[in-house]
């Protein structure tokens, strides 16, 4: 079934390319495939694209996404727990989180470049800032809505405040936190192209941007495919981790 729908998609693509009649507008699947081979090898003394293989561009971007989301998720967790547990802080800080969440990453990237230069630092900041709000919001909601019955049961057993947070509030929030993490990684993914608009090569976003400048549409499409497919893979991994880590999901 999956293979069939994939073939159908390819056929549609081929048709669209034929109809457009202009490879700079819609490149044919074949052209993208050739680029894949070209960018994965050294040819005529040129290594991949701009001196880096496709896998290297992708690997560097994935590393940025990983580090950026990890920082964002960690900060989002801490902020979320505080927001969920302390009502007056929630009142003050929640609009700030919502504000940041509404900003397009490109908008604050300029500021980050002024502050941190054009190397890795502003890129990681951008991804972390993009990944933080979904985790903070999900964690805050889950912590705030911790099941009173279970909290009371723990208190009846002599649990301290910290015990209650560690043994009841956080585990009960874990399913929602995980959903937040998946969202966060998704946001970091879609922000990587923005993060690599300045000095982004090597990096898959930088590669796509350069290719766009030179109207290498087949490279652009290849880059998009690489980002999308690796995103699917990462989400699959996160889902698998989720079922392993949260066997009680949906059973309470």
């Amino acid at each position: 079934m999956r293979v069939l729908s994939l073939l159908a998609l390819l056929a549609l693509w081929q048709l669209a390319a034929a109809a457009a009649g202009n490879p700079s507008f819609v490149p044919a699947p074949r052209a993208v495939w050739d680029q894949l081979v070209l960018l994965s090898t050294t040819h005529d003394g040129v290594r991949g694209y701009s001196g880096h293989l496709l896998a290297e561009h992708l690997g560097i971007s994935l590393r940025r996404i990983l580090v950026g989301s990890a920082l964002g998720v960690a900060a989002g967790l801490v902020i979320g727990v505080v927001l969920g547990a302390v009502p007056w802080i929630r009142l003050v800080a929640e609009p700030v989180v919502t504000f940041v969440r509404a900003l397009p990453p490109l908008a604050y990237f300029s500021l980050l470049i002024i502050w941190f230069g054009i190397d890795e630092t502003p890129k990681l900041w951008l991804l972390a800032i993009a990944a933080l709000p979904p985790v903070a919001v999900a964690t805050a909601a889950a912590v705030h809505g911790a099941p009173t019955g279970l909290v009371e049961a723990a208190r009846a057993l002599g649990a301290s405040r910290w015990n209650v947070i560690r043994d009841v509030v956080l585990p009960s929030a874990l399913p929602e936190i995980f959903t937040g993490v998946r969202l966060a990684v998704g946001v970091a993914y879609s922000s990587v192209v923005a993060a690599e608009t300045v000095n982004g090569v090597p990096g898959i976003g930088g590669m796509v941007r350069d290719a766009q400048r030179y109207l290498q549409t087949d490279v652009v499409v290849l880059g998009l495919l690489a980002i999308g497919l690796s995103g699917l893979l990462i989400d699959g991994l996160l889902r698998a981790a989720e079922t392993r880590l949260i066997p009680w999901r949906g059973r309470t």
């Binding site: 279970l150 009371e152 049961a153 723990a154 009846a156 057993l157 002599g158 009960s172 949260i246």
Partner: protein
């Protein structure tokens, strides 16, 4: 953890035994959405150590409220509540079993009991030994490694009882713990609780709306009126606590007489 932390707080009743519960003119009013709701009292009641007190009353008469006051989850809006001579604090001196098991699904069956022991300050090595012991005590074997959703509702409530016993608190509070179970399971758990309670001899306050359950379990039965609940009947139960089979007990003529008396009081109080 089971000892009262601050004996100086209760000089007037310093000689009182650690398990006793005292309610003096206790009333409780909730701030309901549609105005204040008088839920309980005023009620005065003394429960000496070793008593198995059963509170019976119609639904909504304030039974849970009374138990939450004794547990320290609520402060009475009037009167005083003392356990062991001091104001009750949740997690100190009383084990609680709720109507729903309230087990932690992220822990195994054994893990739930282990956590209770940890909160009670039991060292790790001893916890490993006591978990199976506590589970055996409530009639559970070989379930320590199961997940909560892999055992039946009756078994879950047994785990909840084991967890409440873990702290070795002088007081045990139970709020309609068997109400959600099927009749057969309920009867078996009642029999086991009666046995465990006779063995440990700890002071218990058990809330129910079932007359049968009250007479079977209680060494003393208190019937509450409709909301706000007050005492309609306070009865010492003279039935034997040990050395008798449940069926023999139920067949005693005194048992039938008590059941009739309590049943009559409950109906009169609810009218």
């Amino acid at each position: 953890m089971s000892s009262r932390p601050d004996p100086a707080a209760a000089p007037a009743v310093a000689d009182e035994d650690a398990a006793a519960v005292r309610l003096h003119e206790v009333g409780h009013v909730y701030d309901g959405a549609g105005g204040p709701v008088a839920a309980l009292g005023p009620i005065s009641l003394t429960v000496p150590s070793g008593t198995f007190l059963v509170l019976v009353g119609a639904s909504g008469c304030g039974k849970s409220t009374l138990l939450r006051l004794v547990a320290g989850f609520e402060k009475p809006t009037s009167g005083t509540v003392l356990t062991g001579g001091a104001e009750p604090v949740p997690g100190r001196g009383a084990g609680i079993v709720f109507q729903q098991p309230r087990l932690f699904p992220w822990k195994t069956v054994g893990g739930n009991v282990e956590l209770a022991l940890r909160y009670a300050g039991v060292p790790r090595a001893e916890r490993a030994r006591r978990v199976p012991e506590l589970l055996e005590r409530v009639g559970l074997h070989d379930v320590a490694d199961r997940r909560i959703w892999q055992i039946s509702g009756g078994q879950q409530q047994r785990v909840a009882i084991a967890r409440a016993l873990a702290g070795d608190d002088p007081l045990l509070l139970l709020d309609e713990p068997f109400a959600a179970l099927d009749a057969l399971t309920r009867e078996r758990l009642q029999e086991d609780l009666r046995r465990v309670s006779a063995q440990t001899g700890r002071t218990s306050v058990f809330v129910t709306h079932s007359v049968e359950e009250a007479v079977f379990l209680g060494s003393r039965v208190v019937v509450l009126t409709r909301r706000p609940g007050r005492i309609a009947l306070d009865l010492e139960v003279g039935l034997p606590r040990t050395g008798i089979e449940p069926d023999e007990l139920r067949a005693l003529p005194e048992y039938a007489a008590l059941r009739a008396e309590v049943g009559h009081a409950v109906r009169a109080a609810a009218a």
